[in-house]
Symmetry: C2
Subunit: 360 residues, 2 copies
């Protein structure tokens, strides 16, 4: 008889604010999908974020990076609390710098899909919006996070783009496009490079490297858009996009824009992927104002779990989770209010998604 | 008898691509509104932009800045041609750096209004979207335009924010808010500060200075949004905004986003305003692919003219021009296609606006 595959080794970071209740919701979904899909997993919890910072003076405990790197994947809730700050005004409990750089998860993958039963901000309907933002995650303007130069009279941060850093994230985007079914309305597979190469040298390098990498993917179409034009087109014609790749700061802004067109941040999961590590997290924040009250929408956390399962080689489980969210939404098994909040609370969504997880 | 007021001294920069035909359209409107409003003006033309660069090796002729500074205002068409570039890939024919910095026009004012008869990309209707983006125009990430450090392996640009530069543009935004009728849906006057102060020191300084200036305007409400949240809200809830103020690069991106919600860039005029000079220009580019064929939408150029007239103290003329655009649109006197192009050509719009300019 074959040796049983070893259980999936997952680390959980519950995070701040609504983080713990969202992660709890996703873990209920995980338990059910694992049973259906017939795989085992074990969980380790790591306390990190603003609450941890307040308690211990460190946002991430000693040795945590090694533990996260050793895992098959990390499921993270949102972190950060507005009143936990460094003296310069930047937030102290955020893990972006520590994890994205520390784990070298260079690709931040943010799928944008307008699901059935969801009303996005634009005039588009379900099925019309289906693209992925690939955000470079380790350099760009974020390299300066909290480390810029500052006097009381001026402050400056640096936007740095490297050839190596750009090449790997662009390659990731092209591979992703190749793996997709051609979600763009015209059925074509295409990668759009977003930059501001007409004004800034860093972005000009980003575009140059994009063009070089593109030569290795003659089967995939390419498109160039300046950041301002991309912001326009993502609102006016989101149905034309398939995969987009861009510098860190642009990815931050344009993925939130995209979220508004698919029903809000509560509908968007994300994966931070590198060569040695990966972690999944919602795109939204920790919403401390509604924390602990069972009011938050767990869909983004559940869709993040699906991305993590894909990444850990459990794509059938990932597909199942996405399918369950979609079928719960189309059947109206849970209801979201005008601002994306679940009308009957977090648990109503969790239960509906679990019920829609089907065997077979 | 009183001495007749001296004629308005206007400089015209026709620009590249569709620039000359748009400026021609705006000048027809100017001629008519000046007759109705009973003021005189004289025009001087300055050749500048990518075509000028190609011909002379300089995008702006010698002595031009002095001439522009001496004028009561400058009406500029879009400039730039994609194939006129510096060796580093940045465009050579753009005037942003030369004019915005050269004339120290620190405030870039971009009103976003969804006009009657226009379908924006979101589900909002005419009257619901009416806000102004005030973009800092002389520093921020654009300070590095074409001047960043670059090797074949890495390139970097600097985002610099100064106290003095921020203070003046924030003050401009508050004064603007005071002068508006409270366009926000709830009738309140409000200035929104957009930054990424949770991550970057430069933006943290921007926010700190904003808060200091705000104390001088206790009658005006304030709001803070991170750039990513602002991108989301400008799509999801544009009706909640009144005046927004932000760093240069953010202003570039978010104003194009806003344009999509009010029918596209073709509907958005802008004014670059400083202490000693001002110039008005469309937010969109020079569209060389359709140049010279009478196909472009001149509304942005005409609305830019209106902003210039306001700035030159001719607000009744500015209001008249805006009123004419609005009434031509509500009466269906011209028609715009799905991508904002005038169905019966540039001249159909010019004629309709001129006809709707009413005496009295
Ligand atoms: C919380 C913040 C620092 C973070 C970022 O800007 O990267 C968030 O907005 C995100 O997009 O993950
Ligand atoms: C053409 C380009 C350099 C310019 C800018 O980025 O400022 C334009 O997009 C604008 O918004 O005026």
């Amino acid at each position: 008889p074959e040796a049983a595959p070893s259980p999936l080794d997952l680390v959980v970071i519950p995070g701040d604010g609504i983080g713990p209740e969202l992660v709890d919701s996703a873990l209920q979904v995980l338990a059910r999908v694992a049973a259906l899909d017939g795989f085992e997993y074990r969980l380790t919890t790591v306390d990190a974020g603003a609450t941890a910072y307040r308690r211990t003076g460190r946002a991430l405990p000693d040795g945590a990076l090694e533990r996260l790197r050793a895992a098959d994947g990390v499921l993270k809730g949102p972190v950060g609390l507005p009143d936990v700050r460094h003296p310069d005004g930047t937030e102290a409990g955020l893990l972006g710098g520590l994890l994205r750089t520390g784990l070298d998860t260079f690709a931040n993958v943010r799928p944008m899909r307008l699901l059935p039963g969801v009303t996005g901000a634009t005039r588009h309907g379900p099925g019309e919006i289906d693209y992925v933002v690939v955000r470079e995650n380790t350099e760009g303007l974020y390299l300066s996070r909290g480390a810029g130069a500052a006097t009381p009279h001026a402050a400056s941060d640096q936007l740095m783009v490297t050839r190596v850093g750009t090449e790997r994230v662009v390659r990731y985007a092209f591979e992703l496009a190749r793996g997709r079914m051609g979600a763009a309305a015209d059925g074509a597979r295409r990668v759009t490079c977003v930059d501001k190469s007409n004004v800034l040298r860093s972005y000009a390098l980003f575009r140059r490297v994009f063009d070089e990498v593109a030569r290795d993917y003659p089967d995939i179409g390419t498109e160039h858009l300046y950041a301002d034009a991309a912001a326009h087109e993502l609102v006016a014609r989101p149905q034309t996009f398939d995969v987009l790749v861009m510098e860190n700061f642009l990815g931050d802004i344009l993925s939130d824009l995209g979220a508004a067109t698919v029903g809000g941040l509560g509908m968007c999961g994300s994966l931070n992927a590198g060569t040695d590590a990966a972690y999944a997290e919602p795109v939204h924040g920790s919403a401390p104002d509604i924390a602990g009250r069972g009011l938050a929408n767990p869909v983004s956390q559940i869709l993040s779990l699906a991305l993590l399962l894909d990444h850990a080689g459990r794509t059938s489980a990932g597909d199942r989770v996405r399918g369950a969210v979609e079928s719960a939404l189309s059947r109206g098994d849970f209801e979201l209010g005008e601002r994306g909040q679940p009308v009957r609370g977090t648990q109503s969504v969790t239960a509906a998604v679990c019920e829609n997880l089907r065997p077979g």
